[in-house]
């Protein structure tokens, strides 16, 4: 994968990517960082992660790429904050484990999501930040349950349940919109 970076074309791509988007990277990092030093560290860690995804990044449209960069920085920043807290001896309690039975979406509900995808994309920000983070991590950044668990401070086993809830909240947005009309 990253072996492709040996090729000058790929190296130029990464350099251009950084050159064109460095303000966006730093601006996103600063939303989460306490100072400039932390922001720089978050950007650097994000770049390391992005270097491992060069083959995926090269195929993305420019707008999708911008989203991917910001999602990566956001995810890195949250990991960074959690790690920093541990180093300073502050323990961030694990999120309350989700209890209850896992009820997946039905076929009918999935078909509604499929039909109204464009509408959902427009209403994306109506979801909670937590749900957006979870769904972006899982389906856009393709993170594993362990990676998501680390970022959210919960066990990997509970990510499955959290995702089910997040997907259900997506369906609820559609239901609310239907009621409103």
């Amino acid at each position: 994968m990253i072996a492709a970076l040996e090729e000058p074309r790929e190296r130029d791509f990464m350099e251009r990517l950084y050159e064109e988007n460095r303000r966006l990277l730093f601006a996103t990092a600063r939303k989460y960082a306490s100072d400039g030093h932390d922001a720089e560290e978050i950007v650097q860690d994000s770049l390391v992660r992005l270097m491992g995804k060069v083959d995926i990044l090269q195929e993305m449209k420019r707008c999708t790429l911008a989203s991917y960069l910001v999602s990566t920085v956001r995810n890195t920043a949250i990991n960074h904050l959690r790690k920093q807290s541990r180093q300073q001896g502050r323990t961030i309690p694990y999120e309350e484990e989700v209890q209850g039975e896992e009820v997946p979406l039905t076929m009918d509900e999935l078909l509604v999501v499929a039909e109204r995808r464009a509408e959902l994309a427009r209403a994306w920000r109506e979801l909670s930040e937590h749900d957006r983070f979870l769904l972006e991590g899982k389906y856009f950044l393709q993170l594993s349950d362990s990676e998501l668990g680390d970022a959210l401070g919960c066990k990997a086993e509970s990510i499955r349940m959290k995702l089910t809830r997040a997907r259900r909240n997506v369906v609820k947005i559609l239901a609310r919109k239907e009621t409103a009309t």
């Binding site: 730093f26 707008c63 999708t64 997506v170």
Partner: protein, 245 residues
């Protein structure tokens, strides 16, 4: 999970991946607009911070390049061992048919080319092929374990590897059958003193090669080849190699 439930889960995953792709495009358009408004005043980035970020990318590239090189070199060493075995078979055939070959003596000649160094023998008198030495590495760094070892008519080797796939190879090669080449590409070469004789030290980015003639029987060439270790460590290994019969 039943087959239907599995299919439903796959469909759900594919659907949400598509949904997130559309969300990413929409969000991306907004982010690009935002980025166009960001100037030096809104997001000041110091030249030093900018430089450090570029250095991080350069370091990643170097690390990956070295990792790929090391993997290729590992495969190269394995191929070299196979090639040595094939050469032994050919040599055995030659021995059976060309009797005078057995009574020649040879002198070591080192030829230096642009990208490699070749060790070979020139004919002298009154010699014969001698048995391979038994190689012992009396010191190796911590973490290395024996990977494989072997002896044939013309070669003997012992190889160690650690969890990071760094390699230490100790080789003995009989030179009357041909020559041995060592890569010198992008490497620094020097002559050192080792085991009471002159040795060639070739230090590359990832590979260190130390080659010398076995003092007990100069028709045998000894070498230590390491990957992922520094020259001092490789030298310490070579200093502690013993060859006996």
């Amino acid at each position: 999970m039943t087959q239907r439930e599995k299919a439903l889960e796959n469909y759900e995953n594919a659907l949400f991946t598509l949904l997130l792709s559309e969300v990413a495009e929409r969000e991306g358009d907004r982010l690009l607009e935002e980025q166009a408004q960001l100037g030096d005043e809104e997001v000041p980035i110091s030249a030093a911070a900018d430089q450090r970020c570029r250095q991080v990318m350069a370091k990643c590239r170097r690390q990956e390049k070295n990792r790929v090189k090391r993997r290729r070199a590992g495969r190269g060493l394995a191929k070299a061992a196979v090639a040595a075995l094939v050469a032994v078979l050919l040599f055995t055939t030659a021995l059976a048919t060309i009797e005078p070959f057995r009574i020649k003596t040879f002198n070591l000649v080192i030829d230096l080319f642009d990208d490699h160094m070749t060790f070979s023998m020139v004919e002298d008198e009154n010699s014969h092929i001698t048995p391979a030495p038994v190689l012992t590495a009396n010191w190796i760094p911590e973490g290395f374990t024996l990977d494989h070892e072997g002896t044939t008519l013309m070669t003997a080797w012992v190889q160690y590897m650690n969890a990071e796939e760094d390699i230490i190879s100790v080789l003995a090669t009989e030179l009357t059958t041909g020559s041995m080449s060592y890569s010198t590409e992008d490497a620094q070469m020097s002559t050192i003193s080792l085991h009471g004789t002159e040795a060639q030290l070739i230090v590359g980015e990832e590979m260190v090669q130390i080659i010398w003639s076995w003092e007990a029987d100069p028709t045998w060439l000894l070498s230590v080849i390491t990957q992922g270790l520094d020259a001092d460590t490789a030298l310490k290994i070579a200093e502690n190699v013993s060859a006996t019969r």
